[in-house]
Amino acid sequence: MSDALSDDGSVNQDDSQEDVMTPAELIAKLEEAWLNEKFSPELQENKSEVVECVMEQLTHMEENLQRVKKGDAKASIHRMEIDRIRFVLSSYLRSRLQKLRKFFPHVLEKEKSRGEGDPSLLSPEEFAFAKEYYANTETYLKAVALKRMPPNLQTVDMLKAVPEPCLDSFVFLRVKERQENILVEPETDDQREYVVDLEEGSQHLMRYRTIAPLVSTGAVQLI
């Protein structure tokens, strides 16, 4: 798929002269974010600039297609490309939204405790959605059951009630930049912690918690 995408990117290169990134690189970025998001148990940092650029690119490509001669074979190939990119984009946003809905109290809590200047996990739209979702669900539970319960039981701690993302789940990953001395913590009591080096290009199966920081810096890619 990536071959087809980069072909397409080069055709449309003249569209985005103001961008430092070529369309091919942009799509690669999107795919990277998409895979990471799909395979990691917790929500990743938001990539709203990539999303915005891709959407712009899609509009450009649609416009270009309008100008193409009728019955041109190239047109249908480009059309297919647009559809594919739009699928990846939607799928990416969907999997973010899915995690957002699944872990909303934890996501909001993390967002609250985030230090000033740290990059936000959520895009403004996602943050608004999460807040609305939280309030809506809370109101609902109150209205249907909680307010009819005895006075000392009228609140539910959402943080405790909604399951947390399981950071100890295992993920497949490919190393993009060589890493040394990664500390792997023991899984059971009779194991001891040990250190591994990750060679560039090698693939591993590890617990997400161990390599979570490397995913956000882009040193490894989940696959």
Binding site: E52, F87, L97, T137, Y140, V144, P150, A161
Partner: protein, 196 residues
């Protein structure tokens, strides 16, 4: 036994098929709430007695009742929350308008929750990509082909395709059309995707 009723609610959800929404059990909910109320009242009187007369032998039964109260609360919220998850999944399956037989099984508050959820989702999708908007409930599967086989479900009149040909969408006729032209019409229920 305490908490039986609450467990019954949970079992009811468990028994229904994956993703299906059984009718809202208003009666079961009320019974659990009643049980909680009486447990709570008993506890109140016992607590007062234990305090004023110093009867410490009452404390274990107070504790037991309190645990039952907590369990009831937990089961009820689990019941309600799980129903919400099922309703939420329906938004992605049926689109923003739910079929009548599903709505029939929902209570008034659930309908309200759903419409609020719908609104949040819609404003989220509208604001994507710097206000351009993108319907992410579309493109659910990776696109396989440009053209798909569709069947008309109702008379829709003429449709012009990009290359200029005009086709007549008549009820029960079948066409082989570009997918991006049909998506909207399929959503509106004019066309149906024929899987072969």
């Amino acid at each position: 036994m305490f908490c039986e009723k609450a467990m019954e609610l949970i079992r009811e959800l468990q028994r229904s098929n994956e993703g299906q929404l059984p009718a809202f059990n208003e009666d079961g909910l009320r019974q659990v709430l009643q049980e909680m109320e009486s447990l709570y009242e008993q506890n109140q009187t016992d607590v007062n007695e234990a305090k004023s007369d110093g009867r410490s032998e009452l404390i274990p039964s107070i504790k037991l009742r309190h645990c039952c109260l907590l369990r009831n609360q937990r089961c009820l919220t689990a019941y309600l929350y799980d129903r919400l998850l099922r309703i939420r999944a329906l938004r992605w399956e049926y689109g923003s308008v739910l079929p009548a037989n599903v709505r029939f099984h929902m209570c008034a508050e659930e309908v309200q929750w759903f419409s609020q959820y719908k609104k949040s989702l819609a404003s989220f999708m509208r604001s994507l990509g710097g206000g351009e908007g993108l319907d992410i409930t579309q493109d659910m599967k990776p696109p396989k082909s440009l053209y798909i086989q569709v069947r008309c479900l109702k008379d829709h009149g003429e449709l012009e395709i990009d290359d200029g040909t005009v086709i007549l969408l008549k009820k029960n006729s079948q066409h082989f059309l570009p997918r991006w032209k049909c998506e909207q019409l399929i959503r509106q229920g004019v066309l149906e995707h024929v899987m072969s």
